[in-house]
């Protein structure tokens, strides 16, 4: 599998970004929904710190991913795909990018407005976005973070559903060309 994407399939780096970020997003959803139910103990504080650290990791990975995507082409859509489906797919992908950027940013904003610490895996102290407590924006940032999560969850249902529909319904290579390991090799391989 080439590092760069080709006309026929995604490159190794895009696939790695995709599945790594996907796994971290699922972990974030599970951690985020569980941690708010916990009683206040040091364990809860550590789980919150983990949630923040993973969120900042996703933010960094998505920024790198976008930067990389800007340097290369994307594989062509399956020829049989009608125009509206292409438009819908591209709009959904754009919305996903916006959301996976907006979720960590809104979390960072909420954390800043709440004047809570943000130390990436106990190692890198990240600055506040609000310069300390901001009682006016704190509840709004939290509401935004929670709302964006549910919007992302709904879009991911659509994203996964569409991928499975392509694979099992249309029997095209849309899912396979993002797969890791078992995906069929790209037909066009650059030297």
């Amino acid at each position: 599998m080439p590092l760069r994407s080709t006309e026929h399939g995604w490159g190794a780096l895009v696939r790695a970004f995709h599945w790594l970020v996907a796994a971290l997003i699922v972990a974030q959803g599970v951690i985020g929904l569980s941690m708010v139910q916990m009683d206040l103990t040091p364990a809860k504080v550590r789980v919150f710190a983990l949630h923040k650290s993973i969120g900042m990791t996703i933010l960094a990975l998505v920024l790198l991913r976008i930067a990389w995507r800007l340097t290369e082409r994307r594989p062509a859509d399956p020829p049989a795909m009608p125009h509206w489906q292409r438009q819908a797919a591209h709009a959904l992908h754009l919305a996903l990018y916006v959301l996976i950027l907006a979720l960590p940013l809104s979390g960072w904003w909420f954390n800043s407005a709440a004047n809570a610490p943000l130390v990436w895996f106990g190692w890198l102290d990240l600055p506040s976005l609000t310069g300390g407590l901001d009682p006016v924006w704190k509840p709004r940032a939290l509401l935004l973070h929670q709302t964006l999560f549910w919007v992302l969850a709904a879009l991911l249902v659509g994203h996964v559903g569409a991928a499975l529909w392509h694979h099992f319904g249309q029997r095209d290579d849309v899912l396979r060309r993002m797969a890791v390991g078992s995906g069929k090799p790209n037909r066009e391989v650059r030297p």
Binding site: T41, P42, A49, A116, P117, V119, G132, P135
Partner: protein, 187 residues
């Protein structure tokens, strides 16, 4: 000329006269009692907005000096409402059982470098421990500023003991600093 001679004489007499213990009133609007600690190894600061301080102090008469400070624990503010709420719980300050902290000096002394140190006893969360304050007093006529700094360990007073004792979660060492604007009290 005559006037200035009288003035000089008066000033000299004033300096030579035995200093009377000076009682000061604290200008609460321009005074702060705060502290610095760490949470998840990140420094944060907090304040107690309400405290009463009785200050008797003359830098030339340390034998008569006396500080007596009472702090309303519930006035704690670390600019984080969740943290402030938790800090008043039984695991930490236990403010419903111990609503006030108290500090009273027992002795003032000059350290070898000339700085003034006030020894005293801090009663916090029902535990009394000796605490030393570094004292910086700067007179400005009828007013003065008094800056005090002390090092205390929260675990000495049982604040956040047990499951919260881990200093990488909440630092044990706390630097307390008071900045008081004093006005001469009417004699």
């Amino acid at each position: 000329m005559k006037r200035s001679i009288w003035l000089c004489t008066a000033l000299l007499l004033g300096c030579a006269a035995p200093a009377l213990a000076q009682t000061w009133q604290v200008d609460a609007a321009h005074s702060t009692l705060g502290f610095t600690n760490t949470y998840q190894n990140v420094e944060y600061t907090g304040q107690f907005h309400r405290f009463d301080a009785k200050i008797v102090y003359d830098p030339n008469d340390l034998a008569q000096a006396k500080f007596d400070v009472s702090v309303d624990i519930a006035s704690l503010d670390t600019r984080n409402s969740e943290r402030d709420h938790t800090a008043l719980d039984a695991d930490f300050f236990d403010a419903s059982k111990f609503p006030r902290a108290h500090f009273a000096t027992t002795d003032f002394r000059k350290a070898v470098d000339g700085t003034v140190v006030a020894d005293g006893e801090l009663t916090l969360r029902g535990v009394a421990k000796p605490v030393a304050l570094a004292v910086t007093f700067t007179p400005h006529g009828d007013t003065a500023t008094l800056d005090v700094t002390a090092q205390v360990n929260r675990l000495d007073f049982g604040i956040g003991a047990g499951q919260w004792a881990d200093p990488s979660m909440i630092g044990n060492g706390v630097t307390v600093h008071g900045h008081l604007l004093l006005r001469k009290a009417d004699p």
